[in-house]
Assembly symmetry: C2
Homo-oligomer: 316 residues x 2
């Protein structure tokens, strides 16, 4: 068994978070991951506060294990979601895209454990200063919105800078990368892309098929020129978006308008021509649909095996 302070802090079996993916991570996926011993996370981007409330309540009916909610702080309804998690007795909140400072007094009063997702040392230090319990250092190998630094270089720098525990995200597909993350000083990992093909994941079957078909160079980054970098599958939408953003005759507003609704088209319609299929650099490793439980077991069982056997092979 792998032991980690994050397991003690959260009351979970495995130090593995499932990423809180907008429109994707719902009660069913989160509960499946929590039931398998990890920490399931419901995204607060679900189409409004009441939709999120329903997912939280549904998740509670599906698992008696801890689960959390991921809040994108620049979302227009972030303050309402911040109150909702207190009302609904959510135990863990992860945050992205902004500072949760304004919400920390209420969250700490309610005993919520707060784990911001951060892309750099400066951001990590800010989060520690406002009272975060831990951070997820997310490398830009990840799918979706990304920063500039990548896991192998980011994690040790964040670990050196902070006193609170650090989890690693970005490029984590199986037990090899999870074991690597521990070597870098992380106390756990967050996995997003691989859960896209979980049986319990709501994304369209076309999304799953295209992810399984992708090669190692199957992703690209759009939006870098707009200060809003997003990693997704190299599909007609992404290539057109990329072309538009570097075309001086197209305004930033036109580019953004072109992108509006594209995640919906991917997740719900499976529209490969017009959708934004968020996916990380591990896309080439995704080969099959599996249950969330099988994914959790493969990553954590694999990490344990590698930490035990590989080390014996390497050390004379």
């Amino acid at each position: 068994m792998i032991k980690s302070p994050i397991c003690d802090l959260l009351g979970i079996r495995y130090p593995l978070f499932q990423g809180g993916m907008a429109w994707i991570s719902d009660a069913r996926l989160a509960a499946a991951v929590s039931n398998a011993g990890g920490l399931g996370l419901i995204s607060a981007i679900q189409g409004g506060v009441e939709a999120v409330r329903r997912e939280i309540r549904l998740c509670r009916s599906l698992t008696d294990k801890p689960f959390g909610v991921n809040i994108m702080l620049k979302a227009p309804d972030a303050a309402d979601i911040a109150s909702l998690v207190v009302e609904e007795g959510v135990r863990v909140v992860t945050t992205g895209a902004g500072s949760p400072a304004a919400f920390m007094p209420a969250w700490k009063e309610a005993g919520i454990i707060v784990v911001p997702v951060i892309p750099s040392v400066a951001y990590a230090l800010k989060m520690q200063a406002v009272g975060a319990d831990a951070v997820v250092a997310e490398g830009a190998e990840s799918g979706g919105h990304i920063g500039e630094l990548h896991t192998m270089a980011l994690v040790p720098q964040v670990v050196d800078a902070l006193d609170i525990p650090v989890l690693a995200a970005g490029g984590i597909f199986d037990g090899r990368a999870a074991a690597a993350a521990f070597m870098l000083g992380a106390v756990g990992v967050q996995v997003g892309t691989r859960f896209l093909v979980a049986d319990e994941c709501r994304v369209h079957e076309v999304y799953k098929d295209k992810l399984i078909a992708a090669s190692d160079i199957g992703t690209m980054v759009t939006g870098r020129s707009l200060g809003d970098s997003v990693r997704c599958l190299k599909n007609p939408f992404a290539k057109k978006f990329f072309k538009m953003e570097y075309d001086p005759s197209v305004s930033a507003e036109e580019v953004r308008a072109f992108g509006t609704g594209s995640l919906h088209k991917a997740v719900f319609d499976g529209d490969f021509a017009g959708g934004s299929f968020l996916a990380g650099e591990v896309a080439g490793l995704v080969k099959e649909r599996q249950s969330a439980a099988a994914i959790v077991e493969d990553i954590m069982g694999g990490a344990e095996k590698i930490l035990t056997e590989k080390v014996k092979q390497i050390l004379l």
Copy 2:
């Protein structure tokens, strides 16, 4: 002691290559690394074939240990360098930016061990097919010319695809990342950026000072729009280059002309305004000048310690 098939193959003590950095990696640095038990590499970008010959001969006078030459295959004199390494009895060649297929018969005849540096699975497979003995899978955390994928996601995908040994490069600063690379399936690591501040490294003192002063977000990527991505310190030169490459009123030729000679200005003149100071994402971890031997010992001793102690801490 860490054991690795790459040590047996090359007759070296530690599975650690020093990156062959253009204009930077000379006989003095390579010999210091080889004497410390790693594999020193002389860059073949030294200002002509005869300059490379002098460095090879000088290196042989400074060490009786194995060392190698890194050949950038798109350099105009690559074919001459390919003959030179045979003439001079060089034992190890690493290659970048192209295929060494045309040179493989002569190199294999001469008993040279060939280790291409590759950025993707497709490239790695090509190199295996033309007879490479091993590859260095280089993540785009690295300084200098880079690909698209990053170490945590790249290395496992290359390891899965190949039968020959894989070393990891990109984001490797200390024993933590070296231990992580082994978990990913690598049999060794290549380190560039950290050797820039080695006492035996020829770069200007300003280059060393600026690298030591850099933070985690101290590097950026220029040339992406030209299909020639280069990671370097965020300095006035890099910011201006970046601005020019995305300025529709500036032609690609003008941008390239602006970049000509910029590495020289960094390495030899320490011109922080006008030079291109190649550096990887680990820049923020570089804190002090050290001997090459101290760097090698810190990385490999650190890896051994982490593999031994960390694993005991983690496994129940």
